[in-house]
């Protein structure tokens, strides 16, 4: 008896196997990003800008035109692309080192100008690719290879809350923080990403979805424990929710 497909791999992903660590939720985020592009029928129209970080190889995995950008510069690159190709959908995909450390000027100014691009910001509170150094979003007390005793607030401050910060910029019309630590949260994340791209499709301005993600390897945890750590430790500091949704009348509760 023939069944119907409930879930199958999206055509937005190539056949190349991900090099990401077991349980790394970059894979989940690539997936839902791809599914949104397919569902909005913009895969053939999309141009992505990928960062320096674990996802520097994302050009092997995503079935759309891609620019590989210098560390932190993706929003500037995306600006150049969108100004030449205003009818294409342009997105950046960036980690917390890329966006919140070296790239703070570029993300703020892309938002400030209201660039009609969409940023997928993957926040796993650590530097993954380079082996686990402290990130601007690393929690106070969280150990890393450059904060071996745990992040010291008096030396390097508290973690940076990117969504809250960007939401204060008028050009940023949709700002939401989500997580992917369970199927329910993944579905919510996908809805946020869909809304973010809709803002671009309607020419409304800059949109960003911050996605709390895991790094089991550099957090020194099993993948399943890493999912729990997002829930128990990251979310209390980085609350989930919408911070800006201008079309729909401000912040959605």
């Amino acid at each position: 008896m023939m069944g119907s497909v409930v879930y199958a791999k999206t055509k937005a992903l190539t056949d190349v196997e991900f090099h990401y660590c077991p349980g790394c939720t970059h894979g989940v985020i690539h997936k839902i990003l791809g599914e949104v592009l397919v569902e909005l029928d913009i895969l053939g129209n999309a141009i992505g800008v990928i960062p320096v970080g674990c996802s520097a190889l994302a050009y092997k995995y995503l079935n759309c035109d891609i620019h590989q950008a210098a560390h932190g510069r993706a929003p500037a690159v995306a600006t150049g692309v969108k100004r030449v190709r205003p009818d294409n959908v342009v997105f950046t995909y960036q980690g917390d080192g890329d966006l919140a450390s070296i790239g703070t000027a570029e993300i703020i100014h892309a938002a400030h100008r209201g660039e009609k691009i969409t940023t997928i910001f993957v926040n796993n509170a650590i530097y993954g690719m380079t082996g686990g150094q402290m990130a601007p979003t690393t929690l106070v007390g969280q150990k890393s290879t450059t904060s071996p005793e745990g992040r010291n607030e008096s030396v390097c401050g508290k973690p940076l809350k990117v969504s809250e910060m960007i939401a204060t910029i008028d050009g940023a019309r949709f700002v939401e923080r989500v997580s992917v630590h369970s199927p329910a949260e993944i579905r919510k994340a996908k809805r946020a990403i869909t809304k973010a791209f809709q803002y671009q499709l309607e020419g409304k301005g800059f949109s960003i979805v911050e996605i709390l993600s895991t790094c089991p390897t550099n957090w020194g945890m099993k993948p399943v424990d890493a999912l729990n750590w997002v829930k128990e430790s990251l979310i209390p500091y980085f609350p989930l929710g919408n911070f800006r949704d201008d079309i729909n009348g401000g912040v959605r509760k």
């Binding site: 069944g3 879930y7 077991p22 349980g23």
Partner: protein
């Protein structure tokens, strides 16, 4: 109640175990008697007949290893398990 058929691309599985906790019916486990080509214990369905085709496992899988099909009400248990 929907019934499901779950297919794993076994050699792509990294044994991360996220599908195991994502499954609401707790019918997925990592097969410790086997190693796939990557050297991981691949995920598998312990009791396919209990699958409700919710798709949570596939949604959770970071490597798009899992395909979930919904099958009709009248299929008997034996043929579901044989299809694994």
């Amino acid at each position: 109640m929907a019934k499901g058929n779950v297919i794993f691309d076994v050699d792509r599985c990294k044994g991360c175990g996220l599908c195991v906790v994502a499954c609401p019916k707790k019918i997925i486990a990592l097969d410790e008697t086997k190693s796939n080509i990557k050297g991981y214990n691949p995920a598998y369905i312990i009791k396919m007949h209990a699958c409700i085709a919710c798709g949570n496992c596939a949604i959770m899988c970071p490597d798009s290893v899992i395909k979930v099909e919904k099958i009709g009400e009248d299929v008997d248990e034996k043929s579901i398990d044989e299809r694994k």
